[in-house]
Amino acid sequence: MSDTPKTPQTQPRFSATFDPYTLSEIRRAAATGIYDIRGAGAKRKLPHFDDLLFLGASVSRYPLEGYREKCGTDVVLGTRFAKKPIHLKTPVTIAGMSFGALSGPAKEALGRGASAVGTSTTTGDGGMTPEERGQSSILVYQYLPSRYGMNPDDLRKADAIEVVIGQGAKPGGGGMLLGQKISDRVAKMRCLPKGVDQRSACRHPDWTGPDDLEIKIAELREITDWEKPIYVKVGATRPYFDVTLAVKAGADVVVLDGMQGGTAATQEVFIEHVGIPTLAAIRPAVQALQDMGMHRKVQLIVSGGIRNGADVAKALALGADAVAIGTAALVALGDNDPRLESEYQALGTTAGAYDDWHEGKDPAGITTQDPELMKRLDPVKAGRRLANYLAVMTMEAQVIARACGKSHLHNLEPEDLVALTVESAAMAKVPLAGTSWIPGQVQY
């Protein structure tokens, strides 16, 4: 035996820049020659609502008694011009998700869950289905660049109209529904041959700038006799200017979707690298409304990564009137359930990470048009789960509001918040916890 001492080995070291995910993506791109398309929103870690905390009441402010003292949660949307504004019992709404991306039973379940707690659902690219109109007591009809399935009769059947200019996952991008999800029914609704990739345009076909948008909104109002609230949805990029222009064009409600916001199918590079986080978008949007004297007159709905009542309370405290959820609603229905782990494994992924929503093979029967897979989702039970979840989010937000001494969720304010990180303090314009420092603001 030799006595030469063994050279100590260093551990194999992975590069932070070329991490295992990055390496796998380079190999995938090299093998296929195609960019990666997937569903869901930005997956990287971003400054988010978790970086904010509420200051509960104590000596300087007094709290409300949990369970006994009232804490209102209702919200009215569309008070500016619409003859028939929308009354919601909770400020948590269901975001627009297309029939085509989602199955008929999934749309029905969303309608059932939302209606049970007195909130709205939203159609999406591809038009309105009877399943959704039938089950949603309050239904917002999206008016999209593609105009797939756009029908004036459905416009009149809706309770509100949402002009979609962009989405947080892909501001400036159109859509794509791959051929395998174009079933006979989807093809008929979209007026396309079966099995072809359905490309959705990124710009509206009959208007371009904000001056045209004003005329377009006027047209929609004329067609619906000024009854319905008109929302304008934008992906978060330059929220101050986009909100200003949307309000000038006559919007009743602005929907602002941050980069964590989900999508049915977009290039990974787009999802992760275009747009700004939800947290960074809210204050400039609210500032725009305040500068025009329109805060609370034109309502602001915020979406992108809303998961629980704390997120709801924080979005509202920063000045939103309501929030919208997409991904979280799908999870409540049964998406990415660990119960289906073996099937996710068979698809080369794992529960919690499944995002190939565009491929139509969803074992949970939600993001599919396959008749067999679709049958797996019981719309009544799934709707019940969504209703439970929405009720929990609302109650959680109330717990926080009462602790801050507020008799309505809308009484929450930025002064109730502090930030855990310098970034979130700068973005949310609230002080770093334990200090009076708001980065970027001049102290007098």
Binding site: T32, G33, I34, S146, R147, M150, N151, P152, D153, L155, M176, L178, G179, R190, C191, L192, P193, G195, V196, D197, R199, A201, P205, D206, W207, D212, I215, K216, A218, E219, E222, I223, T224, D225, W226
Partner: protein, 230 residues
């Protein structure tokens, strides 16, 4: 036919459109004439009954937008998006039409006697459009279904990213868009053309003077070797 007059110089547009949305029992078979339109936007939008409307002069954006069943005539010219998303009925512009004429229209017939601007028939979803003059660039972009007949010339990138719409052009085509190609005129297409010419007051024009364009269908399913065409 019972005739009714509105003067847009004196009556707000809202009142006129509200009247035009009266129940079909009130409107069917009536003729409504709108004087002094003076380029106002959104005249006669969202009609849904078998009423005849004459806009006596020039209309602004979205004249007869989303039309269902009604027969609307614009005696002058029409602005952007005339008859956009029309479902049925007939819209007839006697002058010129601006951009995006007949955009996304799903049914019915749009007749333009003069020229049409850019993006005529963009995203067309089943309607028929007959243009007596020429159409601007990017016409029939992503057109899915329906027919566009152009008696004059077509601008650049005609039928870019076309799906299943048929494009008939009598004059010059400046250039074809990605995935748009000339097709042989089969009997079915020829018959469609003959019918549309007859319905739009061009019965005297020979169908043989037209070329037919349609989709080459190479972009129907994404393939990396076509990436340059997107």
């Amino acid at each position: 036919m019972e005739s009714l007059k509105f003067d847009l110089a004196a009556t707000p547009l809202r009142e006129v459109n509200q009247y035009l949305h009266s129940p079909a029992s009130e409107l069917n078979g009536k003729h409504v004439v709108i004087h002094n339109p003076n380029g106002a936007h959104n005249i006669a939008v969202g009609l849904k009954s078998d009423v005849q409307v004459t806009i006596d002069g020039h209309a602004g954006y979205y004249a007869a937008g989303m039309n269902q069943l009604a027969n609307v005539v614009v005696t002058g010219s029409a602005g952007t998006g005339v008859a956009e998303n029309m479902m049925s009925g007939v819209v007839h512009v006697k002058g010129f039409a601006s951009n995006a004429a007949g955009a996304t229209a799903q049914g019915g017939l749009l007749i333009i006697d003069g020229d049409a601007g850019l993006r005529c028939g963009i995203s067309l979803k089943g309607a028929d459009i007959v243009v007596g003059g020429s159409v601007g660039s990017f016409s029939a972009f992503m057109a899915q279904a329906g027919n566009l007949v152009v008696l004059g010339d077509a601008g650049e990138a005609l039928g870019d990213s076309l799906y299943e719409a048929r494009l008939f052009v009598r004059g010059e085509v400046k250039s074809l868009g990605a995935d748009c190609e000339e097709k042989p005129m089969d009997d079915e297409a020829r018959q469609i053309l003959v019918d549309l010419l007859a319905k739009s007051g061009h019965a005297d024009v020979s169908p043989d003077s037209f070329k037919l364009f349609g989709s080459a269908r190479t972009l129907y399913n994404f393939h990396v070797d076509n990436a340059g065409a997107y």
